[in-house]
Amino acid sequence: GESVGLHLPTLSVQEGDNSIINCAYSNSASDYFIWYKQESGKGPQFIIDIRSNMDKRQGQRVTVLLNKTVKHLSLQIAATQPGDSAVYFCAEASGFKTIFGAGTRLFVKA
């Protein structure tokens, strides 16, 4: 069936370091891959997306990498800050449907 999974349920990084959050997906037909951030008590917040015909896209302090050969997606956060502490979800969009993974909790140590 369709699934988007994650390699690590939790990630702890030192403030100022770079963070890398990984994700595996199974549906090769997805059009877009998306990263969302969810803080406690809030809905998911869009971070960045990447179209399936691309392998890298950069935003402000974030970079998403897509490796279609091994069906792997990653989110890199540069100079991680305390405000980056949250649960991060990868998701894949196919048609009008978005499938979310289970999430990775990022802890930023001061």
Binding site: P44, Q45, F46, A93, K97
Partner: protein
């Protein structure tokens, strides 16, 4: 811009009852999607509404139904509530006619007792 607003924020219902959740999309958005998020899990797609019609549906039973109004706001209805329906229900709106780059509301926390 108020963003996506959902009401109510919290709700407690008894098993077997029916519930209606409401969502107002972000200004300028015409597409509304609903998700169910169980504790500690990722959101699960319920369905999407566009031009007042359900355009795509996830793996949810017919007890889950919805509606979109001409002003693009939307309702999610759940009949014959089960204990397992307890979750955070999220509404997301977008302006692309898909679900990409969607803006989410803060959700409605439904507890079924």
């Amino acid at each position: 811009d108020a963003g996506v607003t959902q009401s109510p924020t919290h709700l407690i219902k008894t098993r077997g009852q029916q519930v209606t959740l409401r969502c107002s999309p972000k200004s300028g958005h015409d597409t509304v999607s609903w998700y169910q998020q169980a504790l500690g899990q990722g959101p699960q797609f319920i369905f999407q509404y566009y031009e007042e019609e359900e355009r795509q549906r996830g793996n949810f039973p017919d007890r889950f139904s919805g509606h979109q109004f001409p002003n693009y706001s939307s309702e999610l209805n759940v009949n014959a509530l089960l204990l397992g329906d307890s979750a955070l229900y999220l509404c997301a709106s977008s302006d692309t006619g898909t679900a990409i780059r969607a803006f989410f509301g803060q959700g409605t926390r439904l507890t079924v007792v």
